[in-house]
């Protein structure tokens, strides 16, 4: 199932931000926002990217779009290596790779009308003349559920949910293939979150879009994604299809995350809540061995020194944890996965 239908992939991708200090502003270190991520996104699927704040999920999304320059590693789009594309060679690809931003208040230029915000990309890429551009903007606005007269008005006249719809219309304007949605609903009310999520789903169906969906709300991700990757400190620690991940989390961090998801029923008994101690370590100076070991309840002496490899424990389920070593070595067969699932039920949220 590999290869042909992979649309966007990255290999051992690293994005470091230099930290400068001192009088001469010499480089004193790196913030390792993305620290060796490999991810494949297939056509038409939705990949969820979860993790706590500062784990590098937004940076990963933006690096994939080349809004940040990757420090090393490779990004491939439709099989082409775009890692070293300059802004000129990137421009035609920008039509295929789009982004929806987290903050609907900061992502729309307050000095531009909604029409010119949505139509900007059409001008940049010379797609339509001025009359048909106007028509296209109206269509887009209607598509995302706004009235066409919104085009003449300014972003501050709209609510958060409406603004997010404007942002979606902007991303759609170039008919992209991949949309990276960077926490598109985190800033919205719960009721409006649902509307925007459903809008994104409908649009996916209509335009056969591929999504990379960045979020920290696990419920939303479960509902929305086909596959989920869990990030911790710039690395992907676990990756699986979304039903598999929620039923059978293997990495201690994933388990902790899932156990922290609030239950809709307040009286329901909390089973096995795992509390993580301490804060996320500084990405400038990550721990030795497995980055997660200082907070891991199951950490062994080996975890402290040896960075874990990524083990494939089942079809489409990968975990970067030394504890999985034996399971992975044994077999990756179907029975094993079934067994693992039933074992995992005790701890799953």
């Amino acid at each position: 199932m590999k290869d042909d239908d992979v649309l966007l992939e990255c290999e051992n991708l690293k994005t470091y931000f230099p930290v400068r200090g001192g009088v001469l502003s010499r480089k004193v270190g790196d913030v390792r926002a993305v620290d060796g991520v490999s991810l494949q996104v297939r056509k038409g699927e939705t990949v969820g990217l979860v993790g706590e704040s500062g784990c590098g999920k937004s940076t990963l999304g933006r690096t994939l779009l080349k809004l940040y320059e990757p420090t090393s590693g490779k990004i491939r789009f439709q099989g082409r290596d775009i890692t070293n594309y300059g802004s000129g060679r990137m421009r035609p690809l920008r039509r295929k790779l789009q982004m929806i931003f987290q903050d609907p208040y900061a992502s729309l230029n307050p000095r531009m009308t909604v029409g010119s915000i949505v139509g900007e990309a059409l001008i940049i890429h010379g797609l339509e003349d001025s009359r048909s551009r106007k028509k296209r903007v109206m269509e887009l606005l209607e598509k995302v559920g706004l009235l066409p007269d919104a085009a003449d008005r300014y972003p501050h006249e709209f609510s958060g949910g409406q603004r997010q719809r404007i942002g979606i219309a902007r991303a759609l304007s170039v008919s992209p293939e991949v949309i990276i949605a960077d926490e598109p609903v985190s800033a919205l009310d719960v009721s409006i979150q649902a509307q925007v999520i459903n809008l994104l789903k409908d649009l996916q169906e209509e335009f056969s879009l591929t999504y990379i969906f960045i979020a920290h709300d696990l419920n939303v991700v479960e509902y929305f994604s086909d596959r989920v990757a869990v990030m911790y400190l710039g690395k992907i620690v676990e990756e699986a299809s979304s039903s598999e991940l929620y039923r059978n989390p293997r990495h201690p961090y994933t388990k902790a995350l899932l156990s922290a998801v609030p239950e809709p029923k307040p009286r329901a008994e909390k089973k096995g809540r795992i509390l993580l101690e301490g804060d996320v370590p500084s990405p400038m100076n990550p721990p030795s061995g497995c980055y997660f070991h200082p907070r891991c309840s199951q950490a062994t002496a080996r975890c402290r020194v040896e960075p874990p490899e990524t083990y494939r424990i089942a079809e489409d389920h990968r975990v970067a944890c030394l504890l999985e070593e034996e399971a992975a070595i044994a077999d990756v067969g179907h029975e094993k996965a079934e067994q693992a699932r039933s074992l995992g039920d005790g701890t799953g949220g």
Partner: protein, 370 residues
Amino acid sequence: MAAPQRKTASGVGSPDEAEGQVRVPPQAARSVKRSYWRMVWQQFWRRRISQVGLFFIGGIFIVALSADFLASDKPIVLRMDGQTYLFPNLRDPAELRMYDNHQIIDEMKPGDWALMPLISRWGVNNHDFVSVLALGHHPQPPTRRHLLGTDPSGRDVMTRVIHGTRVSLAVGILAVSIMVVVGVILGSLAGYYGGWVDGVIMRFVEIFLCIPPLLLIVTVLAVLAPTGWWMVVAMMACIGLTGWTNIARLIRGEIFKVKTQEYVQASRALGGSDARIIVRHVIPNSISPVLVAATFGIASAILLEGALSFLGFGIPPDMASWGGILTEARGHIPAWWLAIYPGLAIFITVTAYNLVGEGLRDAIDPRLKT
């Protein structure tokens, strides 16, 4: 400030999303387009004192533009010897070159008529020799013949104050235009690109900051020795080239804030070029403090011009300027009218610009909800 309540008055921005289509509140649909600048204008206009400042600036502009109609040594329309002259005050026809208003009136025959300049019948360099016989030497205190008195060479102070408005406004506006253009371009390059570009530009800023404007202007005027309006241009260029640093630093700081905003990222993700991002997204969102600084800059440029002319380096004596009239007061101490009237003109203009600047600053400052 009553600002916060006002902003939500139109009811826009309420989370008014029905199931499918999102309806825009009807009252918002009827309200006028409320762009950012419209809101700034409303905030600005709410304060009486900024209105006063703006009215004064408007008045000063009218005076400057119509100076030849308010004070001139030629009539606006003249019928003489069967010939009609339209706007001799502007055209200065050869046949009338030897006459001024008073001689024209003296030589008028029945059937001749003239529409005189509205305030003063004296020209800028129109020396009144006649009144010396009656009133003694110049400068003469205000009389009916010279409403604001005369200067030491017998020229009408009223006329020179009116015409001096032109120089002051030209110096103020053009100097500040140079400041803003240079400052915004260099400041936004420094702010947007950062790194070594920023380093180089900011070193330039520091170098220019060290140059005292007065000294530079005096040097340039001494070396180039320009004449007439070139003098004004040289002065404006000098003021502009020493004053841009402030504006560059202001906009650089704003751009540092703005360039990390998501809409800038969004434009880049859409494939927008640097030039497009700077011009369409970054500058419009960081220009407002520059406008405030520019308004204050006009006021200080006018003051600087006055100071220079007062020191005798500025506008040549045959051109009317407020500072130039003030200079003449220096050698003629009891002639208070030579100091008071141009001084008043400078005071009013500078105050008006400062009022407008302050109003603008307050209108922008509360960070109108965007």
